[in-house]
Amino acid sequence: MKKITALTPEQEAMLPVWRDKWIEIGLKTGNTDWETFDKYMPVCYQKAGLVYPKKVIRVSSPMVGAFASSIANKILKERGSHVVDDSVRAVNGAVEGVVQGVVQGAVHDAVADAFDVAVRGSVHDVVGGVVSGAVGDAVRGSVHDVVDDAVRGAVRDAKISWHYWLGGQFWVGGWWGSPSFVSFFTDVCKLELSKDIQERATAYRKVCESVNYIWANSDFVMVCARPSKISKNTEGRLHSDTDMAIKYPDGWGLYLLNGIRFDEKLWKRIVSFKDSKDMPFDEILKIADVDQRVQAMKYGNVSEFIKHANATKVDQYTKYRLEDNAPINYYLYEFPSGDIFTETVHYLIYDDTVLLDKKIHMQGVPPFKTVPEAGAWKRSNDVFTITPEDWENMIIGVHQN
């Protein structure tokens, strides 16, 4: 096998093209390519030394697949089938390891480290971040929250593990032998792999290109359809204030604003204010999850709220990031008792320009007189205390980010 020791200028120019091509594949919606999956998934099993199951079940959302695969696993286990948790793990592990892992190893051996790293950074990491990080993680998190509790509660089997899955299209930028990474060398750099390794690479790539999640078991394979819709903001985060941000053919999906998940009820309440930007602030401040609260604040007006509540500014403080002098402004406000609060309360408000998107944070604090006192209290706890001077001396970019 000829080792690749340098990328030509033409190959380097192809890096962003390849990145965009695989992001598009990873985020593809609409018709699922069942035919390609049915052709290449058996090859993955064969390459892993496993017999391909006769039962291939198509599901229309990861939620259904996670429930169904867990329950099927449980039933088969009770019937004395050899499908137990460990074998489920083993089958997924074999497909991942023997198919993707072997390909990854072969490519790594054939490519000089410097170029391996360059392609990993320019293609693989970006594709992984955009597809798996921004979209796949949201689905995984939601399925985890719902299925883990529900399935374990329903069948009382702590060993049931819905999450031994392969990510299909969401894993085109995955770590082991990711198709976006491997195909750059095989397709663009014309790297020649041995027949067996190339067959493994092709089979895994075709599977990833064709479907969404896959539950590979010894007695059955369950495979999920592509999403029917994926909606993102300009920064690539799942976002929609008109409908679910990601939706599957059976109607299951997730409500997100700028990458933050909401249940349907809260999402509907927040987006109902999208034109007026006049969401009641007492409702916003009651949202316990700080990420959700920050998103909801975009649908309210802090200045109007401060005016409406007759709040007074107690103190103001500005910190500057070491690197570029970017400011973060902190304000301490006192809100009197009235129609919103039953007693006088204090909030620390700060605009965080150091974050990727400008956000306003508003968090309750005890009745302090200065911003550093409030900041120090927020960072202290029962066993660790910092003083207001300590807080002032925390440099953005060195002690806080």
Binding site: Q363, V365, R379
Partner: protein
């Protein structure tokens, strides 16, 4: 100055006591906290597995022993270097004026 490194709502507090507890497996990379609704993670990374111990104490506290400098990353915050040392991991706190309670910031 008392040493504290703050990454988003996560406190990485210099700890001078003796750390007792169970070692947690990691691969030179460990998720300090994961956002419930964002899936975003504060991750500490060291050059090799042996450069870091993650220890969970009996009362649920989490500690880091860094033998070399580590890097903490997050999708929405700039990476930050954490010098070698021993640290306790916690979250910042806030007052919920509606329930009149103090709580760790939830994300």
């Amino acid at each position: 100055m008392k040493k504290l490194y703050a990454h988003g709502d996560i406190n990485i507090e210099v700890y001078e006591g003796e750390v007792k507890g169970e070692k947690v497996n990691h691969a030179g990379k460990f998720v300090l906290a994961e956002g419930e609704t964002s899936g975003h993670k504060h991750v500490i990374t060291t050059p090799s597995i042996d450069d870091m111990d993650v220890i969970k104490s009996a009362d649920g506290g989490m500690f880091l022993v860094l033998r070399v400098d580590g890097i903490v990353t997050h999708e929405e915050h700039a990476p930050m270097a954490i010098p070698k040392g021993t640290y306790r991991i916690d979250r910042e706190r806030e007052v919920d004026h509606f329930s009149k309670t103090t709580r760790k910031v939830l994300d």
